[in-house]
Subunit: 446 residues, 2 copies
């Protein structure tokens, strides 16, 4: 009987291991690596073969007559395994190069690349980049964006674990949406009417009754027909919900702590990617918080923009508010609190001091809403009364209302749009740049 014991001898070396080796006096040592041929610079008797690996690029040097293979057999995007001697070389991507002795082609492309992926910047339109996404992502700057996105999600989870949160997995096919029936993708579920979840709102609140504090990182779906630079029809939502809060300030404090942790993690583990994209991490040591009506007034006064609707924030107003807090307080972030009740879902808790407003907030990042959160109603009679006022039928969401009937602690939470947060962090102008395979009104592939 054969057994698998989980130990695989590593014959090939990673970039980190080679960096360590060269720093530890490994000059001239024999190494074996694999990777994709990212670029070939053939200068006759000498050629540079740049290998692309997950961690970065590796410069290999081919000298005619010193190897067991013919450089002319090699093409870009061949997958290869190469052996040679390690040498320090300041001008090489990682500070070292491999002088090739042998090279084995593991796999070859059928056609030359449709895009110059090995260029520093892909000077192509967003349209082209997205149509050829499986290939354009092989560009090292393109893929660096999604490494940083990985770091955001890692940081979100790690911080919340450290704060006693439990991770949950809730269904995306649901009977009814959390925020009303419009703008949802509908589907037939074995003869029943179903939708794709617009948010895990009901489920995460439910789970506060079980674990006190929960989070989820999962896709959400919005059938909005907007075709803007800020909207996606499917995106990754970073959600958390916490019980036993004193107010929605606790939720903002938790988000601020999380952002501080995320920026620290990025600075520590994603330095190469940040440098490659020229990203300067924002200061999140403290984030100003201002009331909705006050924020509107401040921006209107400073920039001479008339307030058209006192109960709504237009995207241009968000930009001005973001600009105001950058100019006046040096902050890239600002919490806007006390959103009008009309603009918030029924489960939002109204401010007892003025029920036209809610105990809720948005977080703007450089003038773009990246988070919506707040305190939720936890009292059964209170939520029934608010539903009645809005003409909603409790029967429709009986399995959600069950949690209030049988008791819930005061609680609140938030949802963060991962792609929007990534987009702003990277200073991208279109949210599609921050989604691996974006879904918009015209895009269902790749």
């Amino acid at each position: 009987m054969e057994f698998v014991d989980g130990v695989k001898k590593q014959e090939v070396m990673g970039i980190r291991a080679m960096e360590k080796l060269i720093r530890g006096g490994g000059e001239g040592q024999a190494v074996r690596v694999n990777g994709a041929v990212h670029a070939i610079r053939n200068m006759g008797e000498v050629a540079f073969v740049i290998l692309r690996k997950a961690e970065g690029l590796v410069q290999c040097v081919y000298e005619e007559g010193k190897t067991d293979f013919d450089i002319r057999s090699l093409r870009e995007e061949c997958a290869v395994e190469a052996s040679g001697k390690l040498h320090a070389e300041e001008r090489a991507p990682q500070g070292f190069e491999i002088r090739l002795e042998s090279l084995r082609i593991l796999a070859s492309p059928a056609e030359p690349l449709p895009l110059p992926v090995s260029k520093w910047k892909l000077n192509t339109s967003l349209e082209t980049k997205l149509a050829l996404r499986p290939i354009s992502l092989r560009n090292v700057r393109e893929r660096a964006k999604f490494k940083i996105q990985e770091g955001i999600v890692r940081g979100f989870r790690e911080y919340l674990f450290s704060q006693g949160f439990t991770e949950i997995h809730t269904p995306k096919i649901v009977a009814r949406g959390a925020e009303g029936g419009s703008n949802v993708f509908k589907l037939d579920y074995f003869g029943k009417k179903a939708e794709l979840g617009q948010s895990p709102q009901f489920y995460k609140q439910t789970m506060v009754g079980v674990y006190d504090r929960v989070f989820e990182t999962a896709p959400v779906f919005r059938a909005e027909k907007h075709n803007t630079t800020r909207h996606l029809n499917e995106y990754t939502s970073l959600d958390f919900e916490m019980g036993y809060i004193d107010g929605f300030g606790d939720v903002m404090a938790m988000e601020t702590g999380m952002l501080q942790y995320v920026m620290g993690l990025l600075a520590r583990d994603y330095q190469k990617e940040l440098a490659m994209l020229g990203v300067v991490l924002p200061d999140v040591s403290r984030i100003p918080a201002v009331r909705f009506d006050e924020a509107k007034r401040l921006a209107a006064e400073k920039y001479g923009r008339r307030i058209r609707n006192p109960y709504d924030l237009e995207p241009e107003e968000e930009l001005l508010i973001g600009r105001y807090f950058k100019e006046e307080y040096g902050s890239d972030f600002v919490f806007i609190t006390h959103y009008p009740s009309k603009k918030r879902p029924f489960y939002a808790m109204d401010d007892p001091a003025d029920p036209r407003f809610t105990l809720s907030f948005d977080l703007l990042f450089r003038g773009l809403e990246v988070t919506t959160g707040g305190q939720r109603i936890h009292d059964y009679r209170e939520i029934l009364a608010k539903m009645e006022k809005r003409g909603m039928d409790p029967e429709d969401i009986a399995s959600y209302l069950m949690i209030f009937k049988y008791g819930m602690p005061p609680h609140g939470g938030l949802g963060i749009g991962l792609e929007r947060l990534t987009m702003r962090l990277l200073d991208e102008q279109n949210v599609r740049e921050a989604a691996l395979f974006p879904r918009d009104v015209t895009r269902l592939e790749p």
Copy 2:
């Protein structure tokens, strides 16, 4: 201007902190806690109030005349904040109790519980438990299952991060399914025909061309009409895919290493939950691997079961194979390799030694398939030829085939059904026990 700086003073204590305090000589110290009233045992002048917190239960002792509240005002599932003195007490859930001095009710239920959630075991039918899922999960043994599930997902991610994998987020609304057009949930996507992804297969392979090794933990959707104890119509799939493999043995080795890490993490961080459910972690130090045809023969010979179809494994056969490897080798797991080509998708690599079989595997855990994986075709001409043989049109999946056209390394990967793995680990008989809010042919709520 107000600022949020992310630091929230913790006035209330968690269970871990109190355990530490009592061990450090904190007998008699004043503490403040919050939680849900899980149970009240009123014995007249003395009452035990058991609080439910995320980490466990806390015993509070009420003595008439020593507190500022009336025990009769308290009901199960009230959310409370309580203060008192900490005392060691061997018979209490955490080895300590709090002698109450004051108690404040933060929120109250409208009705008494429909289920005795504070009982050790919920002696109700699965039907009732699922219908009342938001409440039945408040039972400490019910919720312990999903804490363990959290640990599996954490371990999966942590191990793969340590092995150089990158986490990805891929779309769930797709133009065409990864494994053919049957058994998919269909939806209208702004006038285009779309489906819910049955697996992130195409996307994770695509991302191997970008990051060499990738993983995703996300929902997948199967519109199968089976109503069995093993099937869900939406589940969480733990997927990984790795490039530069020497064969599918590398994938099995990675899974074995991951399982070893997960079991270690559970033993370290989820001890209370394991003990509560009486879970004995399986030995994963080595996992036997046996060919599909050989496994069928071994089970047939030992248990006298006739092989009806040499190209398929029936569920009963899987159970017998699981039993065989438990009896003969003491292993709860067994890799079944070389599945028939007919039973595998077109992208599976056929065995050059005998193309009727593939370089693929399933992992059985106590006789249940919990993983499907294998090596994939990486050569453009080879995948086109296999599609042609199966009567498939390459035009339908051109944006997937693009990756082979422009070059892919040899690669393979797997998908693990999180709920099935959890179910087997917990020795549950129905996969619904291992899904927070299961989706099956009859169940769309809660």
